[in-house]
Amino acid sequence: MTDDEELLGQIRAAFAALDPVPALVRDAALAAFATRRPWAVLAELSADSAGGTPAGTGVRGRHGPRLLVFTGPGSTVEIEVTGDDAEREIAGRLAPPAPADLVVRHPHGEVTAHADRAGHFVVPRVPAGPVSLVFVLPDASSIVTSWIRV
C-alpha cells in the first residue's frame, strides 16, 4: 500500500465518522431495483416549469402550478402539479388520447386512477417526493414516465 492509499484510507474513515451515508439512503437505492419495468415505453422529462431540464424551461414561471412534459416515442404526457406541503394533486393529459389505467408509483406504494377517452386524468393525494406514472393502454402496452420529485 502506498502512502497515498494509506492517507486516503484514513480520510475515508474520518468521513465515515463525520458524515456517514445513512442506512436509509442505501436501503432506498436497493429498493429502487424493484421498480424496474423494461417492457414499458419510457417517456422522458422534456420540460419542467420548475427548471433544470436540458430542453429549456419556462413552461410557466416559478409561481403557480408546476407544469411538466414527458416525451416518449409516439406519446406525450403533460402534467400539472399542485398541492400543499405533504400531498400533491397531479392532473394531466396523455397524447395521443386514449383511455388507460394509471398507476402513480412512489417509494412507499402507489396511487391508482384512470385516464378517460380524451386521455385526461386527475390523481389526488399523491405523497410529496419521487413519483413515476405508469399508463396501461387498452392493447396492454404500457408507458412509464421518468421519475421526478414532486
Binding site: 486516503l8 465518522a17 445513512p22 439512503v25 432506498a28 437505492a29 424496474r36 419510457l42 421526478i148
Partner: protein
C-alpha cells in the same frame, strides 16, 4: 470483482446482487456530490434516491454501461441543481437528521471538518472504496479528466502539509489552493 459495465449487464437480466454491487460502489460518491451542494440530509437522500430510480428506468437503454458511474454522477448534479432552484424543502423527506457531526476525536477529522467545501468534496471523492475511475471522478467533481491526476496530487500534498502543521490556518490555506476558484 466485476466491473461496472458487467454489473449493469447482469442487472438487466434481473440480477439483484449485481444491483446491490452497483449501490455499494456508487452510494458514497453520490452522497459526496449531494453534500457538496450543502443540501440537508433529507434533500440529499431524495436526490440520491431519484438518481437510482432514474438508473433503474433506463438500465436497458444505457448505451455505455461502463460509464454508469459517470452517468449517476451527472444525474445527481442535475437533480441537486434542480433542488436548489426550487428552494429549500417544505417537508420531511427520506431522512431528517441534523447536519452537526456527532463528535470529533482526532486531528484528521478536525482538519477535514474545517476545510472549505470544495476541498472536502475532492478528498472525499478520491477516498471512495473501491476507488473511482478517473472518468468517474471527473464526472463527480465536474472537472476535465486530464486534471484529475494533478488535482489528486495537489490535494494530498496540501493535506499532508496541514497535518504536519507546516501551513497556517487550515481554512484559508486550503481555500487558496483547493477552494472554489479555478486553480485546476
Amino acid at each position: 470483482m466485476s466491473g461496472p459495465g458487467e454489473l449493469v449487464l447482469r442487472a438487466r437480466r434481473d440480477d439483484a446482487d449485481a444491483w446491490a454491487a452497483l449501490v455499494e460502489r456508487y452510494t458514497g460518491m453520490l452522497w459526496s456530490i449531494a453534500r457538496s451542494y450543502d443540501l440537508n440530509a433529507a434533500d440529499s437522500g431524495d436526490v440520491i434516491q431519484t438518481a437510482w430510480l432514474r438508473l433503474v428506468e433506463r438500465l436497458h437503454l444505457l448505451r455505455k454501461p461502463d460509464s454508469v458511474g459517470a452517468w449517476l454522477a451527472a444525474t445527481a448534479h442535475r437533480e441537486c441543481r434542480r433542488t436548489l432552484h426550487r428552494g429549500r424543502r417544505e417537508r420531511p423527506g427520506l431522512i431528517d437528521r441534523g447536519a452537526a457531526p456527532p463528535y470529533i476525536d482526532y486531528d484528521l477529522e478536525k482538519l477535514l471538518a474545517a476545510l472549505p467545501e470544495r476541498c472536502r468534496t475532492i478528498l472525499r471523492v478520491f477516498a471512495q472504496a473501491p476507488p473511482l475511475t478517473y472518468a468517474e471522478v471527473a464526472a463527480a467533481l465536474e472537472i476535465p479528466v486530464g486534471t484529475v491526476g494533478p488535482t489528486r496530487r495537489r490535494c494530498l500534498t496540501r493535506l499532508r502539509a496541514q497535518l504536519a502543521g507546516d501551513v497556517g490556518d487550515v481554512g484559508e490555506g486550503a481555500g487558496d489552493d483547493m477552494g472554489g476558484g479555478d486553480p485546476w
